[in-house]
């Protein structure tokens, strides 16, 4: 992985924020304690909901109520965490005391409002950058959770990094099966198998997953066409095209797609080669909220293919493929 300090050169001095999600009992607090107690020389401000659970001394723990607010911007799925906007603003008054922020969400939380806060609020955006969404899942109980609730699937769908914990409590076959279930929802997250949430903290912190420059850095775990779509309705698909993209066509297509299907599209990421442009265009969205910018050119000899990834519900694969293909220059 690359140097954390260079992960977001377009926003110098912004604080990296890691979002820790996962069901109650999956091992979130264990992972958090591990991060805080390990001797890595970095200081974290931690935003928690249940202060009592945290056993480690940390001088910057903020107790917060998750306050999810709707925006009045005509976007039906656009919500933000009002408490985080205030907390990030407050923490910046003592900016010299920490190197990063970790936000632990409640077990049932949908990660979208947290992620959207970092896209929508200019004050937060100018001071902090979303680094990655890390989801802790329990290898033994995940299959049941996926049946019980849609939040478990949402948390996996949003994840950049998945900590597949408590692997010691399941057989090798069960573990393979649970990993398949995760892959069916999100083929693009990194999965780390752990016992007692033990893993090098570099695997979860400073990932730069929301950095436009690294938006598609994580290759899917396997590239087999996901013919085994599951009854739980979240899936991930990706498409590649050979010919350069026409920016006007792409903007018209993606704009309409996000406006119409935004509630179903949890995360969208793309790296595009525009006609007549050396630099690549990186694109990402959380529901309807999109962000994009030019990044450096492709490496010498790298094919100039454009690629887009969707993670969401009710994905109409042929329609999405046709739509993306039609964005190529004719």
């Amino acid at each position: 992985m690359s140097d954390a300090s260079t992960s977001s050169p377009e926003a110098p001095g912004t604080i990296p924020v890691t979002v820790l999600t996962g069901y109650l009992g999956a091992g979130k607090t264990t992972l958090l304690n591990r991060i805080l107690s390990e001797n890595h020389g970095r200081r974290y401000a931690v935003v928690v909901n249940e202060f009592g659970e945290l056993g480690v001394d940390n001088d910057l723990v903020v107790d917060s109520d998750e306050e999810v607010f709707e925006m009045n911007n005509g976007c039906i799925c656009c919500t933000v965490r009002g408490d985080l906007i205030r907390i990030v603003g407050g923490l910046m008054k003592r900016r010299d005391r920490f190197d990063g922020i970790i936000i632990e969400t409640t077990g049932l939380a949908n990660p979208a409002p947290v992620a959207q806060t970092f896209f929508v609020d200019e004050g937060v955006r100018s001071r902090a950058r979303l680094d990655a969404i890390v989801t802790v899942v329990d290898a033994k109980h995940l299959p049941q959770r996926l049946v019980d609730s849609h939040e478990a699937a949402d948390q996996i769908a949003f994840a950049d990094v998945i900590v597949l914990n408590k692997t010691d409590l399941v057989s090798a076959e069960e573990l393979a099966e649970v990993e398949n279930k995760i892959r069916a929802i999100n083929r693009f997250a990194e999965i780390h198998r752990t016992e007692r949430a033990s893993l090098p903290i570099a695997d979860v912190l400073d990932r730069g997953a929301f950095d436009l420059k690294r938006v598609l850095a994580m290759e899917p775990g396997f590239l087999t066409d996901d013919s085994h779509e599951h009854n739980d309705d979240i899936a991930s698909v990706s498409f590649e095209v050979e010919r350069p993209i026409d920016p006007e066509k792409f903007n018209a297509w993606i704009g309409q797609l996000l406006a119409e299907k935004g509630p179903d599209l949890l995360r969208t990421k793309g790296i595009l080669h525009y006609a007549g442009e050396d630099r690549r265009f990186a694109f990402q969205a959380v529901h309807m909220i999109a962000d994009g910018d030019f990044i450096g050119p492709a490496r010498e000899g790298e094919p100039r293919r454009s690629r887009i990834v969707f993670i969401g519900r009710n994905l109409n694969r042929p329609q999405l493929r046709r739509g993306f293909e039609a964005c190529q220059v004719s």
Partner: protein, 345 residues
């Protein structure tokens, strides 16, 4: 637009007032708030390092008040009151003695306010009221976290902004049910018209919302390129000065306004965001601090701009007038703090 200002390097030096009539220090930490005590004899700067700096005459004193950052500051009955991210609501006397008024554990004390005989602090969804001596009077609940507090001029009512509106409480009421002013969305700051005619809030969506109190007619003031953090009515309530644009945006609250009236914009036009505004307690003028460190005084009637401090010392994060309007205190995110004397010589 009028009232434009040459910057930087305009003649005469925009630092003229600061250099000839100012006292300033580099305090080394984010200036969260500035305030004067009720007598006007002492100023205070609250800092991100947990200290309060008391300034009287030539003397600047450093007082350790919070374990963490000071988040809010106001004048007390005498001296000052502060809220911190250590969960404490504290008092700082003019002699520099510090004591707890209340303690709230892990929760941040994000807002404090005071009137003649009442002290207030907001902690999460609750607003706590105390008498001038610090004896608890009551605790008032809101549907979501309180994001701003304001007393009316007489200290009889206090307004709290929150998600989906604002609540207006009578301090001395026995019933403790607020007048709820409703408007969908996240309200992030509040001001009460000096004549009690309106309540105005800033909103998450770069706009203001207002309620005309007699008939609860809604007012919407929009067009800001960024969020308004600071709202200040002029002493007579004729104008509402606001931050969030590249100049001071002043809405007329007379002649039927602000409905259907354009705002007056002063000291703008150069793309630098106005961060903070504070109207003078006795004249139709307004001090404003910008994100590049510029501080100006704007005379609203003549639209003339008087530079107070030049850009370059950090984004202005605090601004306050002394009660008699003779002194202006301001501070920046990078720790610059100054007091400028406007009194007759």
């Amino acid at each position: 637009m009028s009232g434009e200002l040459e910057r930087p390097g305009a003649e005469p030096s925009p630092d003229f007032l600061l250099q000839t009539r100012g006292a300033h220090r580099d305090l080394g930490a984010y200036v969260v708030a500035a305030a004067f005590d009720r007598s006007g004899a002492q100023a205070a700067f609250a800092l991100g390092d947990g200290t309060v700096r008391l300034v009287a005459g030539e003397e600047w004193r450093e007082i350790a008040v919070h374990d963490g950052a000071v988040l809010a500051l106001a004048a007390g009955a005498s001296g000052f009151v502060t809220g911190g991210d250590d969960g404490r609501f504290r008092r700082v006397t003019s002699a520099g003695e510090v004591g707890d008024i209340a303690e709230y554990g892990m929760k941040w004390v994000e807002h404090v306010a005071s009137a003649q005989n009442v002290l207030a602090c907001a902690v999460g969804r609750r607003l706590h009221l105390f008498d001038a001596a610090g004896t608890p009077l009551k605790s008032l609940d809101h549907p979501s976290s309180v994001t701003g507090l304001a007393f009316d001029t007489k200290g009889k009512r206090i307004g709290a902004s929150h998600y989906n509106g604002a609540s207006l409480w009578f301090v001395a009421s026995k019933s403790d049910s607020p007048r709820v002013l409703t408007w969908k969305g996240s309200h992030t700051a509040i001001a009460i018209h000096p004549g009690g005619e309106a309540v105005v809030t800033a909103m998450q969506e770069n706009a203001l919302h207002g309620w005309r109190l007699p008939d609860e007619q809604h007012m919407r003031m929009s067009g800001y390129p960024s969020k308004t953090r600071s709202l200040s009515f002029t002493h007579n309530g004729r104008w509402l000065a606001t931050s969030g644009a590249d100049g001071i945006v002043l809405w007329p609250f007379f002649g039927g306004g602000p409905m259907g009236k354009p705002p007056v914009e002063l000291a703008g036009g150069d793309g630098v965001t106005c961060n903070f505004v504070a109207c003078h307690p006795g004249h139709d003028s307004c001090a404003a601090g910008f994100s590049d460190g510029l501080v100006v005084l704007a005379d609203i009637g003549s639209e003339r701009i008087l530079p107070v401090a030049s850009p370059g010392r950090g984004a202005i994060s605090a601004l306050a007038w002394s009660p008699d309007g003779t002194h202006l205190a301001f501070g920046s995110e990078t720790g610059f703090a100054a007091i400028v004397d406007f009194s007759k010589r």
